[in-house]
Symmetry: C2
Subunit: 245 residues, 2 copies
């Protein structure tokens, strides 16, 4: 039997947000590869080997998946959210480029509900007009590039979604991000902190930019910033579909 690698998005957390396509792929797998908390979401069963690995070893993990497929294993690499949004799909293709001996591997990428869209749905429709998705982690990108992108996103009046806003190893970076936003946007701009969306620990807070503090975000938080027209209606936050001429 020939092996394959499938990179599957498990969605933001709740099981009824996992697509049937992903559920079917998991049922066919012999091996599950991924970051520890994501692999922990997969129920053990006979014939299935779980390979949980730590954060920041994405390339090793992807290479391991390709190697197992070459041995005939059916490997699902699990990501939270969508695998193509700051997750394992790009890492798999980087590994494929670095290891041309695996060029013939059968590969599939299965989309999932990404955190920013689950957070937006829980809050209303804050990304209802043009928007940007930005990874605030500087592990893989210098801060100057991040700053440039933030300023262009703000000057283009895009709504924004920030992934990985804050971690113990970079406690001051999100402080600087908020400063840049305050330089570019009006103080009443709405900003949403959505933590652990769709899980029992879900917590969403909406504040004006002037009142946002770095402590409002951690690594389980996705941050959404409205555009200039984003507003509240009752308990909801939404961005109108149109821009007045």
């Amino acid at each position: 039997m020939s092996g394959w690698v499938t990179v599957a998005g498990l969605g933001p957390g709740r099981e009824d947000l996992v697509t049937p396509e992903v559920t079917a792929a998991l049922a066919e797998a012999t091996d599950i590869v991924g970051y520890i908390p994501y692999v922990a979401r997969i129920a053990p069963r006979e014939g299935l080997t779980l390979h949980p690995t730590d954060n920041r070893v994405e390339l090793d993990r992807a290479t391991h998946a390709l190697e197992m497929a070459a041995e005939g294993r059916r490997v699902v690499v699990v990501s939270s959210g969508d695998p193509g949004v700051f997750a394992m799909a790009s890492a798999l293709f980087e590994a494929l480029e670095a290891h041309p001996e695996h060029a013939g591997t059968e590969i599939r990428i299965l989309p999932g509900i990404t955190a920013m869209l689950a957070a937006a749905a829980a809050a209303g429709a804050p990304l209802g007009h043009d928007f940007c998705a930005i990874n605030l982690s500087d592990n893989l990108k210098p801060f100057e590039i991040l700053e440039k992108r933030l300023r262009h996103a703000a000057r283009g009046d895009f709504a924004m979604a920030f992934y990985n806003p804050r971690s113990k190893s970079r406690p001051h970076q999100f402080t600087r991000v908020l400063e840049i936003l305050r330089e570019e946007c009006e103080p009443g701009r709405l900003i949403l902190f959505a933590r652990a969306v769709t899980t029992p620990e879900q917590a969403i807070s909406v504040v004006e930019l002037r009142d946002a503090t770095p402590e409002m975000a951690d690594m389980r938080t996705v941050v959404l910033v409205g555009n200039a027209a984003t507003r509240r209606v009752g308990p909801w936050v939404y961005t109108p579909r149109g821009v007045a001429p």
Copy 2:
């Protein structure tokens, strides 16, 4: 029995990309409201009334949903893709704002797999780094705003996803969008045209920007533009996770 309105994303087309959460909401509905081709995806059953309506009546449709909920109906407003991405969620909140008599309505927004992420998964991982989602329809936005956003997105070196790139009523606009991209990006920039993703008619083509023509897109196409680092590996297109310092 009290009524409610749920806005649900049906995903890009294939049924195994509909989340179980959405399937459960559809099973509880008494009424389905939406654009004709999306309502056509819902199987008729006893006790369920289908209300298909034409394009460009989003506000009327949303108001109708609120009115039916006030009468105790359980209404699902269906969107393709994700309801919060250039779809019905914002229209519902616009209707809610215009009709404060419906302020107490029980509302839920259920996320779905949006077209750009299904297209990205089918092609590899072209949105694997920071990216923008832009609606090219100018029904609700002047072209000058669109042009400004395109230039900021390009100068920030964001990958981009374009929804509604082309229609019979605006045949020349996408021509102008390609011209702007050529002014801002190098001629070898990869651009993907993903038509009817996940359906039997799915067709994906990848070309360099210099070779892109307006006819490559229609209203069933989502267009993805890579960033400066986006590349091919075998049949795949991906954007690396990092930016070299």
